[in-house]
Symmetry: C2
Subunit: 349 residues, 2 copies
């Protein structure tokens, strides 16, 4: 269709502008240029105002951008961070990543993001790739709750921060999922629901565990413990939610409400509910988690617990940066918020 570029190459990748280019034009040594152009913070041995001004003008004219490889080689700082997520096609993690990238960009860092697919071998492989790229640190959005898989990083002394999923003893920024589970429970309790079921997510994730845990604790404390057979593990996607819901809805009496630990799983639950000729929010209430934009737009708008996904990403990067720069830091727990919509209503019996 287009064919190879003809050989009268229009722009032969013109010679890059380096410190030396500028130094020659300004009639000074590269050292001087380097010092002038360095961030003001470390401005020792400064030049005369006129020289500095002249150098800055030339640099701006030529559109000088320091070569990150030269810099990295010399300083042993790549200004690169790796980001590991289960799947980028998962809207939740994609949003978290946007937050990471946002904060990283502001701090002069670039990010590599890659999918681990929640697979042990692949995670190791991708981590290895990131380290080979000499990243300054790693943001992990896919950590299993037992903290396994962190060994390689710890061993190499590479800073890391967990986001979305936490693991005890490791730096993390997560949503307060226990509190979030409770919010969902309190909402359903207030609506009169006593006989409920939980689509609990993957048991190796703190998100699944904590949200389920908070929910169950609140029901137990209210005097309505949820029996084990009403709790079922699931994937975090639509199919996972649907499958779990089908199992939960087909055994014994119908629960009056279902809590799914993820919005997409909740969408799957609604599908299963509808398949049985029922309407979400009437015969069976459904609560999700995360409040993805889609949730508000569904035919039956989804009641859900909003988690600050973007914010988690931003703070996760900040936590990582604090470690990289040797500043004090601490893990964070961000507040969830209940958003009541049409998919929940008074318990019907």
């Amino acid at each position: 269709m287009d064919g190879p570029a003809d050989d009268t190459d229009p722009s032969p990748r013109r010679a890059p502008v380096t410190l030396r280019t500028i130094a020659e034009l300004a009639g000074v040594h590269v050292t001087t240029v380097s010092r002038v152009l360095a961030p003001p913070a470390q401005a020792v041995r400064t030049s005369s105002p006129e020289t500095a001004q002249r150098i800055r003008e030339i640099a701006a004219d030529l559109g000088y951008r320091p070569d990150p490889h030269g810099r990295a080689l010399r300083t042993n700082r790549s200004h690169l961070v790796g980001v590991l997520v289960p799947r980028l096609a998962d809207l939740v993690l994609a949003t978290v990543y946007e937050g990471v990238e946002d904060a990283a960009g502001r701090a002069g860092y670039s990010t590599f993001v890659t999918n681990s697919q929640d697979d042990v071998a692949r995670r190791a492989d991708r981590t290895d790739m990131l380290l080979a790229r000499r990243v300054d640190g790693v943001v992990l959005g896919d950590a299993p709750v037992d903290g396994s898989s962190l060994g390689l990083l710890v061993e190499r002394g590479v800073p890391y921060a967990l986001v979305s999923r936490r693991a005890p003893g490791h730096p993390s920024v997560t949503c307060d999922d226990l509190a979030g589970g409770r919010l969902a429970a309190e909402h359903l309790l207030a609506l009169g629901h006593r006989d409920v079921a939980v689509v609990a997510g993957e048991p190796y994730t703190s998100t699944g565990l904590d949200r389920t845990g908070g929910f169950l604790a609140a029901f137990a404390e209210a005097g309505h413990p949820v029996p084990d057979h009403r709790v079922r593990r699931s994937g975090f996607d639509v199919r996972g939610g649907r499958e779990a819901a089908e199992a939960l809805l087909s055994t014994g009496p119908l629960p009056t409400a279902v809590f799914a630990v993820n919005d997409f799983a909740a969408i799957g639950v609604m599908g299963a509910v509808r398949d049985r000729g029922l309407t979400p929010g009437r015969e069976v209430s459904v609560v999700g988690f995360n409040d993805v934009p889609l949730a508000a737009e569904l035919p039956v708008a989804l009641t859900t617990v909003r988690s600050p996904m973007h914010e988690m990403g931003r703070r996760g990067f900040a936590l990582l940066l604090a470690q990289i720069e040797g500043r004090p830091w601490s893990s964070e727990l961000l507040d969830p918020e209940l958003v009541a919509r049409a998919s929940t209503g008074p318990a019907q019996r």
Copy 2:
């Protein structure tokens, strides 16, 4: 919660292993090591089998990974490519990106991905950032159909490839969207639909334009031209589809079918249909585009035109790589495929 790391730093980021480390252990010069470890393709001036073997063993033992910065500095090749997408939180582009990353990884490249938000200023800013990082090329998933915004790349002589959206005269790998629009039209025509509407996407994208164009052409050729007021631009997300559908459904007689150029927009259309007390697939048929995984899982499974998103990403990278390596290349058009589901049925009057 965790506090700063205590000062008995467990692993002081142990000294990295370089060519010199290996050379000293093997009792040879770094040059020799470098040549032994270079990809076999350029194996000139090779060493004796014994030396090579010894070097390779030491390298493997020490887990040597060449420093990409040193290499980039010397070779002027960073093995880095940039990827620009409108939004990573858009499942379609996230999937395309997975394809790019997949192919890039196999070829020894790493990728920076970043959101342009379809905003001119932001796109320029992000492109600039990518160039500052010295990428070897750029994959563009957000190109406007008029090819504007490509100036900076052309001017700098940086190779690029368009994916998902094409622009005449620029290298691209896209779905044959014209054919895809026709597929949707033929499906509806076969079901007896004559009075249809189109949710057309953004007019600055080839995806919106071509899918709409193919659809309209097929209806016109069948003798049932679609009047202008039945075609409405829209965003590519649920909200955009819903808004466009509300406008289309509220003027004049109800169309018997709606074609949305994107699955999420189609979900919005289904929401609007339902809001009017109608059922998708009965009173109003709905066709989407892309076949995202969610489409099959919806309460009313969505009829849609499948586009090879992952494949587009992989081939897009291959197209870029061919340019980087100076091999011949050409743009590609991948075949779409109709997937009929419950959201379409015979025309009802």
